[in-house]
């Protein structure tokens, strides 16, 4: 045990250690087995060590499907590397499976000769029956292609914890930390960050913290003591740009992005929200930040969530509402109100598989056309999309800036993959983010509710309580300038054009797109959102193989960057990979009359790098 006190020291064993440039590990088990926690802890450990990384948590919509069954399997995949990482990895190098169901659902992704650690205590006849296994995979040679390590996780964990006087159920719940300890040994990682996390999480239950630490240490020493693993691995730190880093998920990034934007604007942040997967974590996160003056409101429904935000915006707050596709559908009428009354508002749609309830915990990007057009009549709204978990921070700040400057609602598109996925994020200096202070009109002389700024076309923001500026807002058509109700045909046409021109005016400050890779050539990939990772990885590989390819990843989806049409014209072919049936494709074909090719995956899972590469090769061969 003495080797463990020097946590962080290299293993003292004489066994072989191999240096790799990257590794992909996946933890899978029952929803109740703590796989997300295990994965997050390992992620934190490798992040602190300085590896670049990307994660892919994949869990069922059911909180606890019947234990041991196929629908209850939850997984967490992580790729970490000494180089750049763009995806959680196509195939898995090391798989930890807590039961036969998890093994069955995940083993297909394990590469030949990959490491397979299974909890042999959960391969009883009953377990096998629940997983619909006809024979025991540990005995039927179906796993011969892998390096199989059956470990009695429950027995060994109980043995390690026998002194603590815990009941069997509590001891069994620590077995994921035994498995985690094994992985820490396998990849030569210290355990101290996980110990710190346990101490904090169980600060009122020190016995549980102790139990999990003991289980983890036992897992580590098990590898140290037994000859099971003949080899361990070392993945040196990555050469990231200089700076201070933290590990950040997309939803966390949005939350702190909004707090940042509120400070940069000098406004109170208001969030109206109704719980919905996978957006709820933004509400959980922001509700902790009351000391930043953040007002969170868990509304009675999606409609109250957005309309309360409109009320808060009317009161002078930086108002946001956060949801997923079904909630967006409910908010559409209120979005139209925000367009009509021209109040700033930010709406986050953390997309998931649909239609209807669809795949609540799985990712998709099929709400693009809903975001662009999903309202009655002509109701244009700027739409921007995040491309990585860390990018969610910058997108949150940018959406708020546009909303306040142009007095418009702005839609942010993220998705389940970005929301729950994490990556190392370089923490910006506050001075890197410009202030965007807001001016409220207070002078009654010449005040008109719909008088417009000549550059942005924004109307003045007058707060209730300001003497002399009493005015009426509403969803009825208004006369330009005065804001009085007006049904005249030409006024309506003028107002419709003004609302469109105001959104289009945002394009004046959108930077021109500069393709990554070849500035002209055989193929341009145009994409948006969370496909950034696999496309970038595929592009690098294909260009290294000599292909002439460029990549434009759109942040601004409405309005589109001014030079996009010109850039598209520089390539022979245009490929648009999307996790939908071809929504950006539809927009590009309509707007630029380009015969772009769609590549569509609608499986609730992100693209693999290999899939994109195969498609690139196919298109270039045509």
């Amino acid at each position: 045990m003495s080797t463990l006190t020097g946590v962080g020291e290299p293993s003292s064993s004489n066994r072989k250690r191999e240096v790799l440039d990257r590794a992909v590990i996946r933890f899978c088990g029952d929803s109740g087995d703590g796989m997300q926690i295990t994965g997050n802890q390992f992620t934190n450990t490798v992040a602190l060590y300085g590896n670049d990384l990307a994660t892919f948590p994949d869990y069922p919509a059911e909180i606890r499907a019947p234990a041991g069954t196929l629908p209850g399997v939850s997984g967490f995949q992580l790729q970490f590397s000494s180089g750049q990482v763009f995806t959680a990895g196509d195939s898995v190098d090391a798989l930890v499976a807590m039961n036969p169901a998890a093994l069955k659902m995940n083993v297909a992704d394990l590469r030949p000769n990959g490491i397979l650690i299974v909890n042999s205590d959960s391969f009883t006849e009953n377990d096998l029956r629940k997983a619909q296994c006809k024979s025991n995979p540990l005995e039927d040679h179906s796993l011969d292609a892998f390096r199989l390590f059956p470990v009695a996780l429950e027995k060994l964990t109980r043995l390690a914890l026998q002194e603590l006087g815990l009941d069997a159920k509590t001891m069994d719940r620590c077995k994921n930390f035994f498995a985690l300890g094994m992985c820490n040994w396998l990849y030569n990682r210290p355990m101290d960050s996980t110990f710190r996390w346990l101490d904090d999480k169980f600060k009122n239950k020190p016995l549980l913290s102790e139990a999990n630490k003991l289980a983890m240490k036992a897992g580590y020493s098990y590898c140290e003591a037994t000859e099971a693993f003949q080899i361990s691995y070392e993945i040196p730190p990555a050469k990231l740009s200089p700076g201070t880093y933290r590990n950040l998920s997309g939803n966390q990034a949005l939350a702190i992005g909004f707090v940042t934007a509120a400070q940069k604007a000098g406004l109170t942040l208001f969030q109206g929200s109704y719980p919905i997967t996978p957006a709820s974590d933004i509400l959980h996160e922001l509700s902790q930040y009351k000391n930043f003056g953040v007002m969170t409101f868990q509304a009675e429904d999606e409609i109250a969530a957005i309309t309360s935000a409109i009320g808060a915006s009317y009161a002078g707050a930086l108002a946001i509402t956060t949801t997923s596709g079904p909630g967006m559908a409910l908010k559409t009428e209120a979005l139209g109100l925000a367009v009509a009354v021209e109040l700033p508002l930010v709406i986050c749609d953390i997309q998931r598989g649909g239609p209807s309830t669809g795949l609540p915990t799985k990712t998709e990007q099929a709400d693009l056309l809903q975001a662009l057009f999903g309202r009655n009549s002509e109701a244009p709204i700027p739409v921007i999309a995040a491309s990585t978990p860390g990018d969610c921070f910058w997108v949150a700040v940018e959406a708020c800036r546009i909303a306040l400057k142009y007095m418009v609602p702005v839609i942010i598109l993220s998705d389940g993959y970005l929301a729950n996925g994490a990556e190392p994020w370089r923490i910006p200096e506050l001075s890197e983010i410009p202030d965007f202070p807001v001016t409220f009109v207070t002078d009654p002389v010449g005040y008109q509710p719909y008088k417009r700024d000549p550059v942005t076309l924004a109307r003045p923001w007058a707060l209730p309580g300001t003497p002399g500026l009493e005015h009426r807002l509403g969803g009825l058509e208004k006369q330009d300038g005065s804001g009085n109700i007006n049904y005249e045909p030409l006024n309506h046409e003028k107002m419709t054009h003004l609302r469109a021109a105001k959104v289009q005016a945002v394009a004046q400050e959108i930077p021109d797109v500069v393709p990554v890779g070849d500035p002209e050539g055989d193929l341009l990939i145009v994409a948006w959102g969370s496909t950034y990772g696999p496309i970038t990885a595929a592009l690098n590989a294909q260009r290294a193989a000599g292909k002439k390819i460029g990549h434009v990843h759109l942040r601004y989806l409405n309005p589109l960057p001014n030079n996009l049409g010109e850039v598209i014209g520089r390539y022979h072919r245009v490929l648009v990979p999307e996790m939908n049936m071809g929504q950006l494709l539809w927009v590009l074909r309509a707007k630029y009359l380009v015969d772009a090719i769609g590549y569509n995956k609608i499986q609730g899972r992100p693209f693999k790098q290999s899939e994109i590469e195969a498609k690139i090769e196919e298109v270039l061969a045509q």
Partner: protein, 341 residues
Amino acid sequence: MATATLPPLTKKDFQTDQEVRWCPGCGDYAILSAVQSVFPELGIPKEKFVVVSGIGCSSRFPYYINTYGFHTIHGRAPAVATGLKLLRPDLEVWIATGDGDALSIGGNHTIHMLRRNVGLKVLLFNNKIYGLTKGQYSPTSEFGKKTKSTPFGSADRPFNPISLAIGSEATFVARSVDVFQSHLRDTLKQAAAHKGAAFVEILQNCNIFNDGAWFDLTEKDARSEHVIQLEHGKPLIYGKNRDKGIRLKGFDLELVQLGNGVTESDLLVHDAHHPRAAYAFLLAHMEHRPGFPTPIGVLRSWDELPRYEDAANAQITAVIAKRGKGDLGELLRAGDTWVVK
């Protein structure tokens, strides 16, 4: 100090230059007039008033009163107003709504705003019909109501708005009538004085699509015979000759004729401040019983609950007091970090 030198506000200050577009003879005019009379008497600067509405005839109200106003979307006024109040507890926010807006499409927001006790004043114009869509039955229309959408009569049982409000634990519940001007003004003043959510149902005549819906209460003699006016601390007595009353019998109400040994001292004395809503609920249900009068006035006024916006803001103040004002740099650097050189 400056406000002391300003001339006091008058009704005229609350009139707008906008053409009022309600039908001639609509009960809404009387309600508008009462509100414009009451607002200047409340001692609140004009710019502090905000009138929020949904959709429907009643919801055009903000355009006709010279305060801050927000004509929102159908049924959502309570949610918009809740967001406004959370940010600006200092504002005097009134909601103008109707039976369809507040009880049908916006029913969810109405009950949740009441249970939260947001400091809003709700004026529910109840004409038991959809006016702006030209005459369909509403959630307060009587069973069997024949309308354009129910030519053979509706099969719906109606809501009693004040029962619903009391059931939602509203802390102030009152009822008045468009044509009872002084009673209406007095009721509005009491609502204004309430700190928490105040719900006022105003029985209102739609002379185009449901003319006479309330004549049974408002026509000559009907008021004294069919209406009982509740006043805190006064016995429940009514009738042209003030010879009928309500007394408590067990857990129920009993209609009694005064005389033959029954005197005023036997009658139930109205306690609007009773902490339990069950009492007000009993009163609200009188009108559903044969022979009983319809109650108007303040059924419930129990102002002991904190307002939602105060509680929510107090939480922010308390967390800041405990943890100190948030430091953005620290927030960005929260958790485990590492440095790449």
